[in-house]
């Protein structure tokens, strides 16, 4: 460790300098790579594939109050884009050159270069709105500059990865750079905007030219717009109102809804009326968790099965997924989310709008009913909640003018894209990042079974890295056994132990990789119960804890402990130990009213214990989670 740190210290100052200053060495580079610029500017962005768009070097586009956008007359907007793309692309170009020249074996270099190019397009596309439609600096500067600053810091803190890290460093640093160089311009822009705004107000806002609106839309969706472009074109007329008022609403929506509290009698009654599954309440409820649903397990499945033919409103695919949730056949945030989305895909395919109803409204209601059924089966995970939110927003965005089949096709591809981009590709990016943190001779500890961590370990093994894996497992699910089996099959050297022995095994561990069900915006990692224990012990032993989590699982909610919100599993699985018939002390006691069995599913790991969160947007410290949620939230993250 120490030797690595010292080596890092040599690089440090340089990185910092690049990060926070508009340094002297950069301008020449810019002039060099200026020529390709026009080619790479927005039009070309369409060509970039969704896969590349998730590259870690993507520059966080700022989130802007879109009223100012919409009121913006198009004339200044035409004038402004050029400067910002120039700067971004140039700095990126510079860095990719740099990286390829600097180090790394040939294949790695190739990879880096490839990504670098994609990033260029990306950067151009995303910076277009950022630089073009200027926002008051009070909003923009503080949000984006600290973001990149933090990222730099995080990288500095860690032992240096190789090329990829440097890359993300530089790329993110290119952002403040850009801003600084265009400071004068920005002021000018701002003033122009203000004037324009005033003029627009005087005129009345309702008559923006269609082109301007389309322009603004594509800008508003700040996302690199390859896929959005088509919708932006179509959107034109129908969405103008929605766009206008959404700002205020958005602000309010930003505050997450309070969760359903199951100790609220009246609401529970209401809920019961609606629900399909009528679970019997558990008799011995844990007092502390009255706010969570506590049902007798095992009662729902037969009821549901018998009800299959009465549930004509339910699509069979959704029904099937619900049953799989209930029985535990599908578990894990990603798997559940993908299963749900695919079921929705099928449901949408078979959907036909009833007469005298509009597709968007009816389908939303439909989806809501499916969702409430799924909740009955098992409470939603954050990942699923985000996916549902995405789907609903997509449905709401479908213009009335679109025919049903077209709308369905759009939704189908939207869902497909979500699965691809937010889950599958995101995982790939995470793997790429995380592998740089694995060195020969490492002993990696993981807890439970996280799909992302599993991919990382396998990939690192395929790369020929020599390392050992410690799998820590816990009752009652023993998910680690499944992971162990898969890894041992692949030929990885594994050590298996249970969570109580964590203090014993931690002596030999060099890194801890953990998965997460969700990362909350105060940096809390919400994950399988026991994760907090592992992170705590690792922290006590001064061992870095790396949490791997796709950005679509981030949530703006905050949580301090594991009690306010959680999920309760089947209490019977606590009292019985499978394979250990000698542990039968509680046979017959579980009906006693003094005894409660508590089977928590999740817990919340305080952010102090987390050294690093690896997401598809790069490697960030837990303090930067709110930045990601904010910058990519709403408009971007879920689309």
């Amino acid at each position: 460790m120490d030797s690595r740190r010292s080596s890092r210290a040599v690089i440090d100052p340089k990185v910092r300098q690049v990060g926070f200053f508009t340094s002297a060495p950069l301008p020449p580079d810019r002039t060099q790579s200026d020529p390709p610029d026009p080619i790479r500017s927005p039009p070309l962005a369409d060509a970039s594939s969704p896969g590349n768009s998730l590259s870690p070097v993507m520059i966080p586009p700022p989130r802007h109050p879109s009223d100012s956008l919409l009121r913006l007359p198009h004339s200044p907007s035409d004038a402004f884009p050029p400067p910002s793309p120039t700067t971004t692309t140039t700095s990126l170009g510079d860095f990719s050159d740099d990286v390829t020249a600097a180090s790394s074996p040939p294949p790695a270099a190739a990879r880096v270069r490839g990504r670098g190019s994609s990033v260029k397009q990306q950067g151009a596309a995303s910076s277009f709105p950022g630089g073009g439609f200027e926002v008051p600096p009070s909003v923009k500067a503080p949000s984006s500059v600290p973001a990149s600053g933090l990222t730099t810091v995080s990288v500095v803190k860690l032992p240096p990865g190789i090329s990829v890290e440097v890359q993300s460093d530089r790329a993110l640093n290119s952002k403040p750079l850009k801003e600084k160089t265009s400071k004068a311009e920005r002021r000018a822009i701002q003033e122009a905007q203000r004037a324009a705004k005033a003029a627009a107000k005087a005129e009345g806002i309702k008559t923006p030219a269609v082109t301007a609106l389309a322009n603004a839309k594509s800008a508003k969706s700040t996302k690199p717009s390859p896929q959005r472009n088509d919708s932006a074109v179509v959107v034109a007329a129908s969405e103008k109102k929605g766009g206008d008022r959404s700002v205020e609403k958005d602000r309010k929506k930003d505050v997450p809804h309070p969760r359903m509290q199951y100790d609220d009698k009246s609401r529970v009654q209401k809920l019961k009326k609606r629900s399909v599954v009528k679970p019997t309440e558990a008799r011995n409820r844990v007092e502390l968790f009255r706010h969570l649903p506590q049902y007798e397990h095992g009662t729902q499945l037969p009821v549901l099965q018998s009800k299959f033919f009465q549930l004509d409103t339910l699509h069979p695919a959704v029904y099937k997924v619900g049953l799989q949730y209930l029985s535990g056949d599908i578990c894990g945030g990603n798997a559940r989310c993908i299963a749900m989305l695919q079921a929705f895909q099928e449901a949408i395919r078979d959907y036909s709008t009833p007469p005298a109803k509009t597709l968007s409204r009816d389908l939303t209601a439909k989806i809501s009913s499916y969702v409430s059924f799924l909740i009955d089966c098992r409470p939603l995970s954050v990942s699923m909640g985000n996916a549902i939110r995405f789907l609903k927003s997509q449905i709401a965005k479908i213009p009335i003018s679109l025919s049903e089949s077209e709308a369905k096709a759009t939704l189908h591809s939207d869902i497909e894209r979500f699965i691809n981009e937010k889950i599958i590709l995101a995982d790939r990016v995470i793997v790429k990042h995380a592998v740089t943190k694995i060195r020969d001779g490492d002993v990696l500890l993981t807890y439970g079974s996280s799909s992302a961590v599993e991919m990382i370990l396998q990939h690192a093994h395929e790369l020929g890295k020599q390392f050992r894996v410690v799998i820590v497992d816990s009752r009652p699910k023993h998910e680690g056994k499944l992971l162990l089996r898969r890894l041992v099959r692949k030929g990885l050297s594994c050590t298996y132990t249970h969570i109580n022995a964590i203090s014993y095994i931690m002596h030999e561990v060099t890194r801890v990789f953990l998965g997460a069900s969700s990362v909350l915006s105060n940096g809390t990692v919400y994950s399988r119960v026991g994760t907090a224990c592992v992170a705590m012990v690792a922290y006590g032993f001064h061992i870095p804890v790396l949490v791997c989590c796709e950005a679509y699982k981030f949530h703006e909610r905050v949580q301090l402990d594991s009690i306010c919100s959680n999920e309760l599993g089947d209490p019977d699985s606590i009292s019985k130990v499978p394979g250990r018939e000698d542990i039968n002390h509680l046979d017959g006691w579980d009906k006693s009213e003094n005894l409660q069995l508590l089977n928590l599913i999740y817990d919340a790991t305080p952010s102090d214990y987390v050294s690093l969160i690896i997401t598809d947007y790069g490697m960030i410290p837990p303090t930067s989670v709110p930045v990601i949620v904010r910058e990519y939230g709403r408009g971007q993250l879920w689309i």
């Binding site: 050590t495 109580n500 203090s503 119960v529 606590i574 002390h585 409660q596 508590l598």
Partner: protein, 415 residues
């Protein structure tokens, strides 16, 4: 002598096969065994104490070697040795006082020693009991004839002259006294639960939430004592994988009418924010205040520290070990069977033994104990009251004589 050998061998086997569960049972049985060893031991006319000590040490070495992790054995052996020394000391002082051996003593000490011999004997015995200083040092520093005579009789074995008069009565008396004292020790071990439990009311209040891990009879009695005093509180029991003794404790608690919630070990961190106090048992308490406890305890202690929840350890005095631990996680630990975690053969289908360097891909680690460093412990409650971890070394000095601390190491050196 043959009888004791049979007994010793029997007990050794039990220890080796880990047949005896719990340090209390081990401690009691060790004490009983040593008592029979002492009673069978033929005592020579000269140097009875030395003979007894040698006999106990010989057996003690074997016992400690049979299960070095079970520190209670060593503790009891040392305590019995200490008892022998102490009884011998008090007898000697009594004899000296009684015989009026004022010729040897200094002039200044003469008058008060002559005045009340029994008092001075008790005082010397008490002084020896409550000090950690090795007797040899004491003789060097204080230069009092009384204490100078004592270590000679106990360690070097050279019996002082002038005691031949009541030799026979003294030898019988020594053995008798020692056996009496060992009986007391056994009694102490048996009743330590009650003594600890008596303090429960001072620590548990109405509506408290208490967390414990695994099962300990001391904890059970402690909680139950508080319950009997009409305190109503809730208990979270972590089950303590892989032995799942928490189930046992939960059952007992429920049977006695306590509000009990059984949680998995992984949920300890989640629940500890709502807990007022952690009360756990220990396997052994080291001289530095560190605790050897069932596996998983360090996790609980760390979580408790994070949430500033008092971490209270209940330990009978037989669990107080006079040794300072070095690398206790490894050296004072033992690995249990992997079958508690994975069934035998469960992974045979996916192991590829044909390739590779021959070292197995899969290791299963199943340690039995955890070491909780003293900084994580808020309080020890022993049968003599509550103590800080930093005070443990002093408390331990009351029970052991400094000469005996290295019973085992001398054995290995001798071999």
């Amino acid at each position: 002598m043959p009888d004791t050998q049979v007994l010793v061998n029997d007990f050794l086997n039990k220890l080796k096969k880990r047949k005896i569960e719990g340090s209390q049972a081990t401690a009691r049985q060790t004490a009983e065994l040593l008592r029979s060893v002492i009673s069978q031991q033929r005592v020579p006319y000269t140097n009875q104490a030395g003979a007894l000590i040698d006999a106990v040490k010989a057996v003690g070495e074997q016992l400690i070697a049979a299960n070095p992790v079970e520190l209670a054995v060593g503790n009891i052996v040392r305590r019995v040795l200490h008892i022998i020394r102490e009884e011998d000391l008090s007898l000697t002082t009594a004899a000296i006082g009684g015989l009026n051996l004022s010729a040897v003593s200094d002039d200044e000490n003469d008058d008060d020693r002559d005045g009340d011999s029994t008092l001075s004997a008790a005082a010397v015995a008490a002084a020896a009991r409550s000090t950690l200083r090795p007797p040899s040092l004491q003789t060097l520093l204080e230069d009092t004839p009384v204490s100078a005579a004592v270590p000679q009789t106990s360690s070097s074995g050279g019996d002082s002259e002038g005691k031949t008069a009541d030799k026979s009565s003294r030898s019988r008396k020594l053995k008798h006294d020692v056996i009496e004292a060992v009986n007391e020790l056994i009694q102490d071990i048996v009743t330590c639960h009650e003594q600890i439990a008596e303090q429960a009311v001072e620590h548990i209040h109405q509506n408290e939430v208490i967390l414990t891990l695994g099962s300990s009879r001391t904890v059970l009695e402690f909680l139950f004592a508080a319950k009997e005093k009409k305190r109503s509180f809730r208990v979270f029991v972590a089950e303590g994988a892989p032995r799942y003794q928490g189930h046992l404790l939960a059952k007992e608690l429920v049977a006695r009418g306590l509000q009990t919630t059984l949680i998995t070990d992984s949920a300890v961190f989640a629940m500890i924010s709502r807990v007022n106090m952690v009360i756990v048992g220990a396997h052994a308490v080291m001289a530095n205040g560190g605790v050897i406890a069932p596996v998983g305890m360090n996790l609980v202690a760390l979580a408790a520290q994070k949430h500033a929840v008092p971490f209270v350890v209940l330990a009978g005095s037989h669990k107080l070990c006079p040794l300072y631990p070095h690398n206790p996680e490894v050296l004072l630990n033992e690995l249990r069977s992997p079958s508690e975690l994975l069934d035998f053969g469960e992974f045979s289908d996916c192991m590829d033994f044909g390739s590779g360097s021959g070292s197995p891909l899969l290791h299963v680690v199943n340690p039995a104990f955890d070491y909780v460093p003293p900084k994580l412990v808020s309080l020890f409650i022993t049968d003599t009251g509550g103590h800080n971890p930093s005070y443990m070394y002093r408390l331990i000095a009351d029970y052991y004589s400094a000469d005996d601390l290295v019973v085992q190491r001398r054995a290995t050196a001798g071999n």
